[in-house]
């Protein structure tokens, strides 16, 4: 116990004296929480649109004005012919084309509506897909207005009411922020202890420790505890920033978040140390760590939901600890789910924490 305290004292002193680490621990969360939520957005806006008005009615006119006023669209042009519009699409200026057929308003008033044509550029699949959806929505809105004003019955514009629960504005940002906090923890609690440990290998100081009676468990623990503390402090800063800057506070209990974060931080640092034990240089440790981080970021549901991955990929995600933490964070933050309801995720995280830390201790060899 005394040895542990002495080693911890050493680690903290070294951390504070390091010219680089304290800055990283401070700038990193600020950067991630203040910049990323604005950049990492899948809310598509400013979709370029071209409208071919063959009808020249008050209805088509209203559609054009409405589109122009919308935040989601930028009205690029109102060309005469489809060819011209298509050229714009090919050039990449327009993402979506709406073609209003000749006599459209008339056909509606007569109760036998003609068909409109929407063309979307699928190169940027997300933008094309959302663009055509928005186009349908804005047309429906225009028609509904017309219906209300003129009191006509429109069979095809049965309005569908979609209500988004838990994230009422469907802001991607709210979904992203808990995920960004997780990235922070992966970086700080996975990378840093790993680099610290390999650093001691490179300078040779670890050999001096290996020739003393310090146990491998004590030594590993002294390396990890500082990063557990840093991880939880940084998480608190990130949550505070999320509240101050984006007005996002967890619906569920803080206890549930901290419990999950503590387990996750343990897991990541266990992984970091295991990797460090198997590496003899910083580069090696960095590459291996980076490999895992890439998989974590792309496959654990940080950016795209696990449920929309193919079956086999979903199966792989079961072995990724961040997956369980992401589910917890998003559920607790946005829905207010309780620990009891998420027990399976907490159990999985606990299991990972135990396995990886056991591995970290076992792979540390004082003797070769």
């Amino acid at each position: 116990m005394r040895t542990l305290l002495i080693l911890l004292d050493k680690e903290f002193r070294q951390f504070i004296r390091n010219s680089f680490l304290p800055k990283v621990a401070l700038i990193f969360p600020l950067m991630i929480m203040l910049v990323m939520p604005w950049v990492m957005t899948l809310d598509v806006r400013h979709i370029g649109i071209a409208i071919i008005d063959n009808d020249r009615s008050s209805l088509s006119n209203r559609l054009i004005r409405k589109t122009d006023a919308s935040d989601y669209f930028t009205l690029i042009s109102v060309p005469e012919r489809y060819d011209t519009a298509f050229a714009l699409l090919e050039k990449g200026d327009a993402d979506v084309i709406i073609e209003v057929p000749d006599g459209f308003e008339q056909s509606i008033l007569l109760g036998n509506p003609k068909k409109m044509r929407i063309t979307a550029n699928g190169v940027n699949a997300l933008k094309g897909n959302l663009g055509s959806q928005y186009a349908v929505r804005i047309i429906t809105q225009t028609l509904t207005e017309l219906q209300r004003e003129q009191g006509i019955d429109l069979p095809s514009t049965e309005p569908i009411v979609v209500e988004n629960r838990y994230n009422p504005t469907l802001e991607y940002r709210n979904y992203m922020i808990p995920a960004l906090m997780i990235m922070l923890l992966i970086m700080l609690c996975g990378f840093l202890p790993s680099l610290n440990l390999v650093g001691e290998k490179e300078t040779g100081t670890i050999e001096q420790i290996n020739v003393t009676p310090v146990g491998r468990f004590t030594f590993t623990l002294a390396k990890l505890i500082p990063y557990w503390i840093i991880g939880l402090v940084v998480l608190s800063i990130a949550m505070l920033l999320a509240y101050l800057v984006y007005g996002l506070s967890p619906v569920g209990s803080l206890g549930a978040i901290y419990l999950a974060a503590a387990l996750f931080v343990l897991t990541m640092s266990g992984l970091g140390v295991t990797i460090a034990n198997g590496s003899s240089t910083m580069q090696q440790a960095m590459f291996v760590m980076f490999f895992f981080v890439m998989i974590f970021v792309l496959m654990s549901g940080l950016i795209t939901p696990v449920a929309s991955m193919p079956e086999w990929a979903q199966w792989i995600t079961r072995f990724l600890p961040p997956r369980y933490f992401i589910e917890i964070m998003q559920a607790v933050y946005l829905k207010g789910t309780t620990v009891k309801e998420l027990w399976a995720n907490y159990t999985a995280l606990t299991a990972f924490a135990i396995i990886l830390n056991l591995l970290a201790t076992l792979t540390y060899k004082k003797r070769s």
């Binding site: 005394r2 070294q14 100081t205 009676p213 004082k366």
Partner: protein
């Protein structure tokens, strides 16, 4: 077991795959001796020393250090030895005092012992004014002397020194050897590797390793007689000439 044999090794070997780094070496070191462990680069000195310190498992053979078995009681050995490696291995970003306190704590010295020994150490090295200096900013010679003093802070039975005076000027080397003599006089056995043949003359006994084997072992005087040489330098050269392993 004879308590006065601090190190006793029989047929100790270490293989790395096909390469035999240390080939069945046997020797004994008595308490209070300064035992010079000589050999050309690549002769297997460091590997042998690492086995004695519990940093590396022997492939075969047996031995005891400070009364503990090197195969099974590595962690016990570590309580009773000091070690100073080729690479300077105190923490450069900690101060002199913080390094001393760290290792004193690791070896379980209490507060009073730590303070008393620190004062002794600093006086011996005339280091008092440097107590709050970060070790990284000390000159190399000072670092080496400090590293030696820290390695012997817990009064180990044996201290292992792996080329402790590499890259150090002659005056500092001389001072370093005075420290070694003081430690030996106080009862600590010193096991030292070196490339300086004048240092070999200071040792009580010297062994010379060639290609993983010990080819000669005796006092410097008797070795010189045996090889009809004027100096240890000549003895070393005679033996090293046959070496098959290069640098």
């Amino acid at each position: 077991m004879n308590r006065d044999k601090v190190i006793s090794v029989k047929n100790l070997s270490k293989k790395f795959g096909e390469f035999i780094a240390v080939d069945r070496i046997s020797f004994e070191v008595e308490r209070g001796e300064i035992f010079g462990f000589l050999g050309a680069n690549g002769a297997g000195k460091t590997t042998a020393m690492r086995m004695l310190c519990g940093l590396s498992y022997p492939t075969s053979g047996s031995g005891t250090v400070a009364g503990y078995d090197i195969m099974t009681q590595g962690e016990e050995i570590k309580r009773h030895i000091g070690y100073m490696s080729q690479r300077f291995s105190l923490y450069e970003d900690l101060t002199v005092w913080e390094n001393i306190r760290l290792y004193a704590g690791i070896y379980g010295l209490n507060r009073r012992q730590t303070l008393r020994r620190t004062v002794e150490l600093l006086d011996r090295l005339q280091f008092r004014s440097e107590i709050r200096t970060r070790v990284g900013s000390l000159p190399l010679g000072w670092k080496q002397k400090l590293a030696f003093s820290v390695a012997t802070l817990h009064r180990p039975e044996v201290v292992f020194l792996d080329e402790p005076t590499g890259g150090v000027d002659p005056v500092t080397r001389r001072q370093f050897w005075e420290l070694i003599y003081e430690a030996a006089a106080a009862g600590t056995t010193v096991f030292v590797t070196t490339h300086y043949m004048d240092e070999a003359e200071y040792c009580s006994r010297v062994s010379i390793m060639v290609d993983g084997q010990i080819r000669a072992l005796d006092t410097p005087t008797l070795l010189k007689q045996q090889f009809a040489a004027k100096s240890m330098d000549e003895v070393f050269r005679t033996l090293a000439r046959d070496a098959k392993r290069g640098e």
